[in-house]
Amino acid sequence: MAGKRKFELAWIGDKEETDFESIQISAEDLVACQGEIGDFKLICNKENQPEEINVANIIINLPYQEEPVLEKADSLFSDDYDINEDKPVIILQDYPELSAAVISQAGLEKALEIKDNYPDKEVYYLYQAMRFIEDNDRLYERARESEIIFLKFDLGQLKIIEEEIIHYNREDIDLKLNGNILAAPELKPAKETERIARIFNLADGYKEYLQLDNIYLQPTLSGKRGVYLLKGSRGPTALTYFEEELDFTLNEVSKNLAGVAEIDKYDREVDDQKCILCYTCYRVCPHGAIQRDDELNSMKVMDLACQGCNLCLSRCPTNAIQIEDDYLKIEGENEQDPILIICENSAEIAAEKYNSMVGKDPLESYQKIEVPCVSTVERGQIFEILSKYSSDIMILGCVSEACKHLTGHDRCQQVVERIKEDLEKLEIEQDRVHYERLSPRMAADLGAFLADWKEALKQ
Amino acid sequence: MADYISKLQKLLEEGEFVVCSEMGPPIGADPDFIREKADFLRGYVDAVNITDNQTAIVRMSSIAAAKIAADEGLEMIIQATGRDRNRIGIQSDLLGASALGLRNVLCLTGDHQCFGMDEGAKNVFDLDSVSMLRAARRMVDDGVLLNGKDMDVPPKLFLGGAANPFADPFELHMMKVEKKIEAGMEFIQTQAIYNLEKFDKWMEEMRKRGLHEKCYIMAGILPTKSVKALRMMKKYVAGMDVPDYTIERMDKAEDKKEEGVQMAVDIIKHVRKIEGVRGIHLMPVAWEEITPRVVEEAGLYPRPEVSEI
């Protein structure tokens, strides 16, 4: 076999010029991705034979699909448009929905280009909102000076009558515009998006793109370490700040190449005798950190990819994934105190803030279990606590779209709901388990909130 | 020697535009229930359907109820459903029906039992409507049961089935209609028609495939006087097409009864002109008493006398 070369960076989709040793792979050719950050193995289809490419980082840079909004219109991005000598040119932006900001720029440039080439031609520019990025405010000034006719519209004021005729009706203006229409296309996710999501084990994103709406995934991070998302894999607004995002991403790649550390000191071992390859851990892992170990015929947790949320541990049906014992102990002085299971990314931080604001630890008179994510919470564990202790349990997770592990807060909710259902059916202890969500900034709320709960418990 | 299998068949073959109606048996064992209904339908319709545990609600069996009505002088169409009986039961029923002089049978797959009150019942569906038609065809034409055994005297049956011009997707359901005709279906009763445009299109397709000549098509008409009923049918009955203009028309009407009759008559007049439509099938849900009036106002009264077949 030829020397196994490892590339520093792989581009899935379009390639940008960089100083890294990089390789470009088309989304169609990609079949599978194994391994983790620093050591990915991309399996590609080379004339129906698998070819393995070793890379340290991956950028998924898929182009958008452009869907025309009007059949007979040319795309605003096209250089190949029709100009009929006798008729005016109509540029249509923001139809039927608001276009991405960068389209304002493309539209203005196109309008100016046409006016430059055909100075006597009437050029109409129909828009719902003009967004300014960089210097397209100057473009806009120039466009107005060149006597391009700008017509702002709300959707009710615009009707497409026939293929090349637009009826614009607003207050005292009633125009039937008949001419060559250049319309902003609707930007859609690339057609390989679903496939790529499966190959990389990425969760379904926002509006069918690959990136979830989550504060921990800005600007180009995917849930999977070492895999970055640009342009058509992220969403229509990703085009606007493409340059900045590219810079950020390449910077991350540099940092990665300098060295990546494991997220915590715990080893998560899969007992290959117990693992039944049900793929539950693989499917629930929000970070794509689990893959199959072909030699042992069991799953394995990849230490560098793992972000330590423990969802795999808490959901494995055969308890095959183990972690060291001392990891989830209850800390507290008094066994009668209520028990808090707190996420280190929200409640713990909020508590520290409260402490620095007020000079008092709001968690003082509670027994605590500190967890990296409330996805750690398990049914059996909660029932066991309810048996051994007499007080209530409060689980404090993160608010929507602010879970560091993307799905932990919702996963915990599913467990808690099932617990409550069962307790209700058996008519026992139904009010002893509580689940609330917090953001790390809710310090004052945390204090007040815990105080209220304590009062309620007394009764 | 009889030329025709049933009076209904004779009328259709002789080119009459037939009028069928429908009767639901009682949830009980009272034969007078049937006799009363037979009374006011007599003379106004050519043949009457008698449903078979429709929507999986337990009622007096179709054959028993049909016999009671037939004894009152009505031409009856029994229904056989795949949901409740296996191939043995169905063939047995067909033999019994023919022996009792009941000659017209509608072969249906059957509504799922979840629509009735016995959701926990085991369903059968040993035969679907296509298999049932095929089995009946062989019984009638070749004198042979499904298992190949010869019968001493084969049954005499005129075979029909249901079709829904409004079910989507079009191609899928058209495939089923074709199969039923190939299997031996001789007449069709359609789902209730309100959307005339869509019905026209369906008939066009039926004609294009030559199916209107292989099978007598009867247009389903559901006279109603209730806006609520129309709305319910639009919303809840899968495969029913009730256009908004129909609901609006009934809503605006002052005399709902009159409007209901008029609407039914209008639809009848329209379908009568369509090439390939050979009759109507009246299904006045919860308004059976209006049948005579509708028949009269549609200009379809009196009905032709049928002597012996």
Binding site: D422, L426 | N123, S131
Partner: protein
């Protein structure tokens, strides 16, 4: 694989005898683990829940769990021999096969089911399974473009669809896809629509349980 779901906890609790003093919860590490219903995790959490219940009623019941690889084969049952012996009642959360196999191997012992076995299904998404096969004994998938009319049509029609199929949805429930729509679509893709126009004879149900409770022997292995 065989798919099942854990019984309603109230139903499980009610099925346990009033005078119970010891309980073994027997889990299974195969199909019901993969369908996230009856594996070691579920056995353990069931134990904790029942513990909590009995504790709240002031009853003293000792509960043990033991999960073996499969409950449908003799050799694995050895591991259960002692736990079964020392417990009054056994609650098995294996599929119906496992429960009965345990019962056959432990005459005189109360073996209760903790799982409702549902169907032979595929995993269509994490936490979601769909019925695919009925074990009819005579596979006809070649005739229906790879989609089984017996298992995926609510009426098992061989000449479908029925009149209740609307926009690809079954009349029984909105959540059920019309099996015949699926058959039609797939046949169209494969250019096999003509096959569907051919009349399909009624199924020979004698290879199904209708022909009698079934068993079979592989002559290459079975020795009288």
């Amino acid at each position: 694989m065989i798919v099942g779901k854990l019984k309603d906890i109230k139903e499980i609790k009610d099925s346990l005898p009033d005078d119970i003093d010891s309980l073994l919860i027997a889990g299974c590490g195969s199909c019901v683990s993969v369908s996230l219903a009856g594996g070691e995790r579920e056995a353990d959490s069931l134990k904790e829940l029942l513990n909590l219940y009995y504790q709240s009623k002031g009853k003293s019941v000792s509960i043990e769990t033991e999960t073996i690889k499969r409950q449908c084969d003799d050799e694995f049952l050895d591991e259960l021999e002692l736990p079964v012996a020392r417990n009054q009642v056994v609650l098995s959360i294996a599929c119906g096969v496992g429960v009965q196999h345990l019962a056959i191997n432990n005459p005189g012992k109360i073996i209760l089911p903790g799982l409702d076995t549902t169907f032979y299904g595929r995993t269509s998404d994490i936490g979601k399974w769909e019925e695919m096969c009925h074990g009819c004994g005579k596979c006809i998938l070649d005739q229906f473009a790879g989609v089984c009319p017996v298992a995926r049509c609510s009426k098992s029609l061989l000449n479908g669809p029925c009149g209740g199929s609307q926009d690809g949805i079954c009349e029984v429930d909105d959540s059920i896809d019309c099996g015949w729509q699926t058959i039609y679509d797939r046949a169209e893709e494969l250019g096999q629509l003509e096959n569907l126009l051919d009349f399909e004879s009624p199924k020979d149900w004698s290879t199904y349980k209708d022909g009698g409770v079934r068993s079979h022997k592989n002559p290459e292995f079975f020795q009288e």
